[in-house]
Structure formats: structure tokens, C-alpha cells
């Protein structure tokens, strides 16, 4: 979304032009770039704004304002299918976030302990899922489950979410680890910790901010995901994103607006939290988050990771 483009630009920023030539340039390009910016915002956000407004629209039509109402939200929470999907979404999100974060911590520590050359190779491998389109990930996971003759359902959905979350967990934790003074780990051993104790008592507390970020991020990604869930959930279980999709296909139902608004707000707030955590405290941690934002923003543009 917007956050990713902003931080992406920040990262790439080159040496600022000197004052002398910067001023006239900026003035000349001012109106054009402002219009351009406005257009971007309109195209990106107008649909969302319309959607949010309509979720409070008493009229069923999308073009007529029939007065303010919370009916759609009320109906939403009386809809058993949606409550069911909500439960699945939350369970899958929390479980996959917890497991992916744990796996991310262990993998990061392991990768960090590797010699430099292998470390770089491992990080490249970790980055591959970032640049793989969700569609490819989803279909290949589906084929894998099919090949293993696994019944698609809750378990496969959860496994799929864990799988796509782990690289993002690693990417959030790794920068913290790289930032850490390695002599802290040695100091712990010097003071009597076994290597395992040193990891638990010093290394993990040191990288805790990265771990928390990883958790929130993977939670967000899981709630947000549609494509991969579509291919791996089977037809017994359904998530909120899947429900919205099937509702939208059947008929025009204003409940969709309400549900979409709720999901949008949840993901939006989580993303703001992640961005605040990473930008205010530490710029270095950006890396993982940028790419993750990009994934969320894939609907708008599928970009390659530049590095």
C-alpha cells in the first residue's frame, strides 16, 4: 500500500541536490508532480473510501445515499457462515503466525551462525518466496498436497499459511540479529551460559523487537491472504477473504462492504503498528517489512525485490 512505496522511496534516496539548483527544479515540477500524486491517491484510495461509505449506506444501491445505518454490520454478525469464516481466519492467522515466528527465530539464528558465504545463499533462498507470485505459490502448494494425497482442508490451509509466512518472519528477525553485537553472545558464554542458554537468555531478548514485528506481520499477511488460501483451503473450510469473494460472485450484498471495511481496517492498523515499530526504532529493520508490504500491495503492482 502507500506505506511501502514511501519507505521504498526513502531507501533509494540519493544524495540530495544542493539548495541552489534544487529550488527552481522543485518549483517547475511542483504542479505536475502534485497532480500525479493526487491521481495516485485517488486511484488507490477512492474505491476503498467508496466501499467504507457504502458500508454505512442504508440504501442497497451503490450510487444512492439512503441514510446512515449500522444494519449491514449487525447482519454480518448474525451470519453464521461469516462467523465461521472469522473463526477459521483468526485460528489460522494466530497459529500460523506463532509457528512461523518460532520457525523464523530458529532459522535466523541458524542462518546467522553459518559462514558468510552460506549465509548469503540462505538469505537468497529466503527471498525467493517474496518474488514468487501468490498464484504460483498457491498452485504449487495445491499440487503438492494433491501429490501427497492430502485432503485439502484446515490442515493444508494452516500449513500453506505457515509456509508463506516463514520467509517474512526471517526477514523481520534477521536485521535485528545482524545489528546485535556478537560479543554479547560470547559474553554470555564467558559468564557460564551454555550455547543454548546464551541464545535463550541473551540473544532472544536482544532480538525481541524483531520477533514481535515478525509476529504482527505474519498475522497480518495471514488475515490478508486470498490467493494461496483459495488453492489450499479445499471446499470445507473458508476464510473471510474467501467468503467475501464467494459473496461478491453471487450477488451484490452490502454486507460485503461492511466485511471488507472491517478487514481493511484490521490490516491497515496492523500495518501502521509494524511501520511505526520499524521506522521509529530502527531503520535497518526496514528490509523485511518493505518486501512484506509489497506482498500485501501485490494487488496494485507486483514488483520485483530490488537488491
Amino acid at each position: 500500500m502507500v506505506m511501502n512505496t514511501r519507505s521504498g522511496i526513502n531507501e533509494k534516496k540519493e544524495t540530495p541536490p544542493t539548495k541552489a539548483n534544487a529550488m527552481p527544479l522543485r518549483k517547475r515540477g511542483g504542479t505536475v508532480s502534485n497532480i500525479y500524486l493526487a491521481l495516485i491517491f485517488i486511484f488507490l484510495y477512492a474505491p476503498i473510501v467508496v466501499l467504507i461509505i457504502n458500508s454505512f449506506n442504508a440504501a442497497k444501491s451503490r450510487v444512492v445515499w439512503g441514510g446512515f445505518t449500522l444494519d449491514w454490520y449487525r447482519k454480518l454478525f448474525q451470519n453464521a457462515d461469516i462467523i465461521d469464516a472469522l473463526r477459521t481466519t483468526i485460528i489460522v492467522a494466530v497459529l500460523s503466525a506463532v509457528i512461523a515466528t518460532l520457525a523464523g527465530v530458529l532459522s535466523s539464528v541458524g542462518i546467522y551462525a553459518l559462514p558468510k558465504r552460506f549465509r548469503r545463499i540462505m538469505m537468497q533462498i529466503t527471498n525467493i518466496p517474496n518474488i514468487t507470485p501468490d498464484l504460483v505459490t498457491g498452485i504449487s502448494l495445491m499440487l503438492l498436497f494433491y501429490f501427497l494425497r492430502a485432503q485439502t482442508g484446515f490442515v493444508t490451509l494452516l500449513l500453506a499459511h505457515i509456509a508463506f509466512n516463514i520467509p517474512f518472519a526471517i526477514l523481520s528477525i534477521m536485521p535485528k540479529l545482524r545489528q546485535m553485537d556478537m560479543s554479547l553472545y560470547e559474553a554470555a558464554q564467558d559468564l557460564g551460559c551454555t550455547p543454548a542458554q546464551a541464545v535463550r537468555k541473551v540473544l532472544i531478548p536482544e532480538i525481541r523487537p524483531g520477533i514481535v514485528t515478525a509476529f504482527i506481520l505474519t498475522l497480518t499477511l495471514s488475515i490478508d491472504d486470498f490467493v494461496i488460501s483459495y488453492f489450499t483451503a479445499g471446499n470445507q473450510v473458508t476464510t473471510l477473504a474467501l467468503t467475501i469473494y464467494s459473496m461478491a460472485r453471487k450477488s451484490v450484498n452490502p454486507q460485503i462492504n461492511a466485511l471488507s471495511t472491517l478487514m481493511f481496517m484490521t490490516v491497515f492498523i496492523l500495518l501502521i503498528i509494524i511501520n511505526m515499530r520499524t521506522s521509529s526504532k530502527n531503520r535497518i529493520a526496514h528490509n523485511g517489512v518493505i518486501s512484506a508490504d509489497r506482498k500485501i500491495g501485490k494487488r496494485a503492482f507486483t514488483t520485483q525485490r530490488k537488491e
Partner: protein
Amino acid sequence: MENIEKADQLKKNNRVRLLTRERSKTAMIGTQLSDKTGQSHIIELVGVNKSFGEVQVMRDITFYIRSNEFLTLLGPSGCGKTTTLRVLGGFEQPDSGTVTFEGHDLLPIPPHERELNTVFQRYALFPHLDVAENVAFGLQIKKLPQGEIDSRVSQMLSLVKLDGYGARAIDQLSGGQMQRVAIARALVNLPKVLLLDEPLGALDLKMRKEMQIELKQMQRELGITFVYVTHDQEEALTMSDSVIVMNEGAIQQIGRPIDIYNEPRNAFVADFIGESNIINGRMHEDFRVLICDKWFPCVDRRHENEEVDVVIRPEDIDLVKPADNLLNGIVTSATFKGVHYEMIVEACDLEWLVHSTDHKAEGSEVGLSFGPDDVHIMVKSAFSPMRGKSDQDSASHESERGADYE
């Protein structure tokens, strides 16, 4: 033959401590060695080599550490001091050689089981813990009763003059305070040996001086063996019982500070420890050296090679009236340095550094006067001022000889 005599002479000093290979082999078998002073050796390194890729960082390092002494590893940046400490701490494994601790092989023992603690070059305090928790860390790992932990921590904090700082966060401390916390965190475990890696490096001069005195005091009070790393020669000379001078991964000299200063073994040591005039000389016979075509008496015997390095300390030279039996020259600069004047005298195409409380004006003609005791004769080495043809030979000869002492 000269070797033996020289060795004898040094033995009298009771300070030369390079072990012979043969002797140290017998030392491996769990017996604790002691030297003539009757003090036992807590740690012995024999023939330790360590390379990182192509770079050899430790070259045949052999020395021992006495119980309760303050030993300093001194050398320029990158000479392998930290690596030597890390071998002792267990964070690097040497490629070859042996390290024993109280007579037992130390190398297979993991860092957390070694009875030594380290004060790291950049403190390595745990930022997620406060001051008291940092200091208590080692005791907590050993699962001591909380009451004992608390009392030892507060005792230690007052020893390093940080009473009342227990609840402070690490990032709210000054450099000097962090450094004290690092020392307290290591000392509270009452290790047999404390390894300190340039602990005063980040402090300003005044703070350094204070901490030097405090550290030395703590070492005496607690009776703990200190292995101290620094590249500051003054620090090494003021604090240590023994100093090991290293360069490019090899030991140059081991001895008491005063011996290292007065009897530098080669031009590197002479140059690194304080300021000195290092001049090419020739010796044809005992007790007489030829400097700039003039003969001067000295207290050394003839070396195998005629060509020698002659070291004369700036403060050992007196500026007197020119005379036939002296080196005569002209003062080219005179700077007031507080206690003394620093003067540069040009004599026989060399610039001589002279420290003296007597001021001689620029341009005045002077004679350089020094006594036989002030003339230090050294075998030529790779560090000599001008490379003679016999350079390489004598350099390798020098290192071989190191092992024959004692």
C-alpha cells in the same frame, strides 16, 4: 657462546620466561609448573599458532602466566592481542600448540566451563538488563541463592564505585561507568584469571589514569591474575608485573616493565616502548662499540655479528661542550615539553632526540654525552633502522634463541 652468557646474565634477573620446548612437554602431564621465584604458573601457552585464511595472526606464541600477577600483552593494533585472549577465553581454537590451565589441557574445555572471565574490548554489556542484573548474570547462571547474589552484587558495585547505580539502564551510563560495570560483571564471579581487552580504550586521559590505579588496586586486593591487553605502552609499563611485547603475531620480548624499558631486545621493542635513538653500530670486541666512526665504551659483550643496533634513550643523553671523544652536532630544534626540553641535534648525518631539563638554544654547537650504561646493544632484526646484508640471518637467529633462555 655469547648466547649462553647473555642467557646467564638475564637469568640473574630472574625474569626471562620463555620456556624451552623440552621442558614444556613434560609440563603437559597434569603437573603444575613453578619457576625459580616459587610462584606457580596458572596458564602456559606453548607453540601456539593461529591463522585466519592466509594471515597468520599468532606465530609460535609461547609464554606462561604466574598466579596473581598482572600480565600485559602489549603491541600495535592488529598484532594478535585480542586473538591471544580469545584463545584463552575459548572463542578461538588455535591451529597448533598447547594451552594448559593449572596443568590441565585447556583447549577442549568450552568457554562456559573455563574458570576465567573476560572484560570485552567494547564491554558487551547486555542492553536488556539493568546494571545490577548485568553484574548478577554470571551468579544467576550458577544458580546461587538470591540472597548471596544480592549481597555479592552490591559489594561488587561498591568496589567499582557504582553504589546506587543498580537500577540504571545500560544506555544511561557514561563510557567510564559502562567500563566499570563490565569489570564488576566479570569480577563478581571471582574467576581465577581475568582477561581484559583494552578496557580503558574508550576513556579520556584523566579517566584512564584514574581507572589504571583503581584496576591495579582491585587486582591486588582480590588476588586475581589479570591478563591485560593494551596498545598503550605507558599503560603497560605503569600497571604490569610483566609485559609481553608482540608484533605481527610474534612475541618480541617478555619481561618486567623496567627491563623491557632498559633492555629492549630489538629495535622494535626499543622503538615501541618509549622514544629512542636507534643507530647502526659495529662491534669488533667486547665492551666497545663503533658509532659514527668513534669508539664508545659499553657494558655488552661482542655479538656474533659485527653489525648491531645501538639504542640510546633521549633522556640518557646530556648536551655538553663539543669534544673530540664525543659525537658533536648542532641543535636544530628545541621545544619546551613541561618537565623537560625536547631537542633535536643533528650529528654525523643523524637526527638525535634529546630530552633534558637544560635548555640549549637552536643553532648552538653541542657534544652528545652518554655513559656506558646508557648504550644498549641489540642484535639486528627486521626492525632495524637500516637493513644491512646480514639482516635476515640475524632476525631468524633471534627468534630461535628465544626458546633457549632459562
